[in-house]
């Protein structure tokens, strides 16, 4: 399978830089998979599961926020958070989920509720991916 140059960066550093065959991410409109030879394309990322295929091997990850940009030279995933499945701390994610659920119950205004919901969805994705 033909490959393309993929870069994945977050504020915590670079997570991937090299050739890949396929990258799948959750955008604000749903899942999108990019293969080699895609036309220039830009979209914003939501919160969800991501996966990268290198040499036929699929690596899963949890990603949220940021953007996906495809240019003829390079495909860039510029995410706010990105964690490979093997790096996810399940206990921490579960605790974050409980905390977020509690916050949703206690939320006093729409803004707090929104924030807690975002946190909850992030924790759920991490639990799903990390399992």
């Amino acid at each position: 399978m033909s490959s393309f140059h993929l870069q994945i960066v977050t504020p915590d550093g670079e997570f991937f830089d090299g050739p890949a065959e396929r990258v799948k991410v959750r955008t604000i409109n749903g899942d999108v998979a990019i293969l080699a030879g895609h036309i220039p394309y830009v979209t914003a990322l939501g919160t969800g599961e991501a996966s990268v295929t290198v040499d036929g091997e699929v690596r899963k990850a949890a990603a949220s926020g940021g953007m996906l940009s495809v240019t003829p030279e390079v495909v860039r995933v510029v995410a706010t958070t990105f964690e490979w499945a093997e790096d996810i701390d399940l206990d921490r994610a579960k605790r974050a989920k409980e905390k977020a659920e509690e916050r949703i119950k206690k939320a006093r205004d729409a803004k707090e509720l929104e924030l807690a919901k975002v946190k909850l969805s992030r924790a759920l994705v991490r639990i799903n991916v990390g399992k």
Binding site: P11, G13, E14, T80
Partner: protein, 284 residues
């Protein structure tokens, strides 16, 4: 008289010695902090540069200006995010930044969002209205705070409170060199490449639409740049402090040396005088 001047010199030496102890300690603290800050800055740098490069690519290929973030409007009011330190004693770190700021903002009507105690003081001194003073401690600003700041700035920009957003921070070039810079964040506008007409292949597909994509990614973009600039500034501050304290310790050492020389001279003069007096007394 000689005795009192000897005592004065002794006191000076003592005071310089204790100052030197402080500067030495500060230097050591700064060197351990600079190592951490440097690592942090180097880790975030790929994100910082990739984010900027990506947005430049996108904005360059953009042909649709439905999002408020890409519209150029007449600039009535400029907003500055000023990232400075919490403390002085860091050589020219804060002063250099404020000089760059001063140059950039001259003749403009501006508001500011200071980060760091010195930045707040600068705004108060120059009567620059502040959007918020909540981030007066630069060391405590986290990624979450950056997101909050970016949200605040983007909202104010959308609502027309200001028409241009700049960020003043210090680039960490090396341990010995730090470069203050003012960077334009909003509106997104990049130099059009010469050549004009583009081939259809070069047109970028935005999904769901250019406007929606920009509205979704700009707050993240501002957050990322803020976070990167904070990391750069932190590394710059610590290395500037380390260099300044190193110089101060060296100066203190030199001062002690020359004071010791004076002290020994005064001591020698006192002894000589005493001998002369005794000899004179014996001769009589």
């Amino acid at each position: 008289m000689a005795a009192s001047s000897m005592k004065d010199i002794k006191l000076r030496i003592k005071s310089v010695e204790s100052t030197m102890q402080i500067t030495k300690a500060m230097e050591l603290v700064a060197s351990s902090k600079v190592r951490k800050a440097k690592q942090h800055a180097e880790r975030t740098r790929p994100y910082f540069t990739t984010l900027y490069a990506t947005l430049s690519d996108i904005a360059e290929n953009n042909r649709e200006f439905s999002s408020v973030y890409v519209q150029d409007r007449p600039v009535h009011k400029t907003c500055y995010v000023i990232i400075a330190g919490d403390r002085g004693l860091a050589g020219g770190y804060n002063a250099n930044l404020f000089r760059a700021m001063e140059e950039h903002r001259s003749g403009r009507d501006c508001v500011a969002l200071p980060i760091g105690k010195k930045a707040v003081e600068y705004c108060l001194r120059n009567n620059i209205p502040m959007l918020t003073q909540a981030y007066s401690l630069v060391e405590k600003v986290s990624l979450g705070d950056c997101a909050a700041i970016a949200g605040l700035l983007c909202k104010a920009f959308r609502e027309g409170e200001f028409d241009e957003l700049n960020m003043a921070y210090t680039n960490f070039v090396s341990m010995l060199s730090q470069q203050p810079a003012v960077m334009k964040l909003l509106p997104l506008h990049y130099e059009q490449q010469a050549g004009g007409e583009r081939t259809p292949e070069a047109v970028t597909l935005f999904e769901p639409s250019s406007g929606e994509v920009f509205n979704a990614i700009v707050p993240g973009y501002v957050t990322g740049l803020l976070y990167g600039a904070l990391a750069e500034s932190e590394a710059s501050e610590q290395s500037a402090r380390r260099a300044a304290m190193d110089a101060a310790s060296k100066n203190a050492g030199e001062m002690i040396e020359s004071l010791s020389l004076h002290y020994n001279r005064a001591r020698q003069a006192a002894i000589t005088q005493e001998i002369t007096e005794i000899v004179a007394g014996a001769e009589n």
